[in-house]
């Protein structure tokens, strides 16, 4: 157990370094973007004088490195600066939106993860039957369609034709939890459709991959029923790749929801991030990317720890 704790500590340290590297990459990528922030803020309607004045006001006349170091000095003290465009502190500008995105991702994950793994085990058990094929084709078709298109189709049926759920998921203050779940059902369903197939297929593949192993053969020869073989013998050894794919998809849920948010008019962080990139609002881009990165690093750490805990060979390296 001590090994794992030290591993976690080591990985968290490495995670911080990763974040630092990302912040440098993002900063200079935003720097490299053609066009400048003042132009982006004032739009087509700006003259040279305006732009110069605005640049001065935003502090853009300092060299890039200096601005980065200033930002970093603040970030170390957990002060992520203020939006260059609106002057609002970053936490205030994206705080609510981030919570909204987290909520939507959690909503989708709570449905998708158990669903996908159960379905994966089931199709592994019933492999090559009609059920397997149907589940396969359906989930594949779902992920093969662009997300926004899936969203449109769900809206067409669930809200325009059948009127079961609202077409737009705008939130208003004072909403009850049930209302919230109803309002956000369609975007959550879209996300579920998008991520389920990947997780399900990986579960299926990982289990089938193990079915040829001698110990499974042994269990089978002993007359263990097929479902027991899979649940008791194959599944525990298939966790490593499954956990990895689940972690990947959870990270995707949080970061990859931009288009879904647009389609359902959901006030999440994705839209803020795209807006910030187009306005070259570096502190917001930076904060969003770092939040995503941190989520990702933590999920990955969890996946790796999970892999080690479920594989005795990795737990006790020779």
């Amino acid at each position: 157990m001590g090994d794992i704790l030290s591993l976690i500590a080591k990985r968290l340290g490495l995670g911080l370094i990763t974040l630092l590297v990302i912040s440098i990459i993002i900063f200079f990528m935003v720097e490299l973007l053609p066009g400048d922030i003042a132009q982006a803020v004032l739009g087509q309607g700006a003259t040279e004088e305006n732009l110069a004045a605005l640049r001065e006001q935003m502090g853009l006349n300092k060299p890039a490195v200096v601005r980065y170091l200033e930002w970093l000095a603040g970030a170390v003290r957990l002060d992520f600066g203020s939006s260059v465009v609106t002057g609002e502190p970053v936490t205030q500008a994206i705080g609510d939106r981030f919570i909204n995105t987290l909520f939507l991702a959690a909503y989708a994950a709570v449905i998708a993860v158990p669903f996908a793994i159960t379905l994966g085990v089931l199709v592994a058990l019933l492999r090559n039957t009609v059920f397997d094929r149907v589940a396969n084709v359906t989930t594949l078709t779902a992920i093969s369609s662009p997300e926004f298109f899936l969203g449109y189709i769900l809206i067409l049926f669930f809200s325009v034709r059948w009127g079961m759920f609202p077409a737009i998921s705008s939130l208003s203050p004072g909403m009850s939890f049930g209302e919230l779940l109803e309002r956000t059902f369609l975007p959550a369903l879209t996300l579920v459709l998008v991520v389920t197939a990947h997780m399900m297929r990986m579960t299926r593949a990982a289990i089938i991959n193990l079915l040829a192993s001698p110990y499974i053969e042994m269990a089978r020869l002993k007359g263990t029923p097929p479902w027991r073989v899979i649940v008791k013998h194959a599944l525990p050894n298939a966790w490593a790749p499954i956990i990895n794919v689940v972690a990947l998809n959870l990270a995707y849920l949080i970061t990859g929801v931009v288009l879904v948010e647009v389609v359902f008019v959901y006030p999440g962080i994705g839209q803020a991030l795209v807006d910030a990139v187009s306005k070259r609002d570096f502190p917001i881009v930076q904060a969003c990317c770092l939040i995503f990165a941190a989520t990702f690093i933590l999920l990955n750490l969890a996946a790796d720890v999970g892999s080690i805990l479920t594989n005795p060979r990795l737990r006790h390296p020779k």
């Binding site: 990528m29 078709t141 662009p146 970061t255 795209v274 990702f296 594989n311 990795l314």
Partner: protein, 353 residues
Amino acid sequence: MAFVVGYYALLVIASCAAAYFNQRKLFLMLFSLTLVSFVLGIVGGVPALRAVTIFAGLLAFAGAVSYAFREFLIAMSGEELAKELRTAPLTAAFGMFVIFTYAIAGIFAPWIAPYGEAEIISTAFAPADENMLLGADQLGRDMFSRIIYGARNTVGLALTATVSAFVIGATAGLLAATKGGWFDQFMGRVADVIMSIPSLIFALLMLSIFGPEIHVIIIAVAIIYAPRVFRLTRAVAGNVVVMDYIEAARLRGEGTGYLIRREILPNSTAPLVAEFGLEFCFVFLLIAGLSFLGLGIQPPTADWGSMVRENATLISFGDITPLIPAAAIALLTVAVNFVVDWMLFRSSGLKEQ
């Protein structure tokens, strides 16, 4: 009326034939369909029965095509390959047929398509007629021709990008798993950094900086997806590396190259192959998403992703125009994954049915 009589007559005759030839499964299926049809016929009337007929007909047609295609492949190929192909289920044969069709369409697009991809021949959204198989798009260009050209442009781009991602990711993953130590750590960190940046934003930044050229798209997509492949390869190969036979090979003094080629790779192909099919879909969608942001393939080049997006709003009114390119994307990814499933099944060494 004649339709209904013919429908049931056909089903009953087919059931009897199946029973006579001792095809138990087929008989059960056909006869239960007959029984279900009674209920369906009462509830849904003739249209429901017609729908069943069309669906069954399509399924049978797809099955027949797949069967014929498999036999064709077996006849065309040598002894070894033919033996392998005989094990292919019909779904895999169907998948291969679709891929083959797309490949032909893509390679010979200029000869197959009746019109040029940018040629305007009609009014906007003109319905299908004898000149235009699928009608016209928003500019009055032939939809069918654009779908054919789209096979060349979209599939070509997605395939190149996916293969690049796989070559980079898998190589790095295998090396990291075998070598271990600082190399493993370093590659892991690089992958972490790239993966932690949201992919759409990363691509958006890259393409805004370097311009939306084809090679930039390929490189950006490869960079975004390589770490995903890397991580999976690393995880799978990591499980293999701790196996005793690898230990044994190491003790024999085998080099890294040998270990990877002869020991690790064969034992980690299955999840990698499965991943390839899925990554291919994701790459496809990412490229469509980039088109959405105005950074995809340049117009008037036909590209399925942008074709879906351009007409997407029509779907709310039940117009099927945007469904055609979407179906083209879905059909290909499903087909690829059918073939992948078969290969997965074979490489898993699982011979039981």
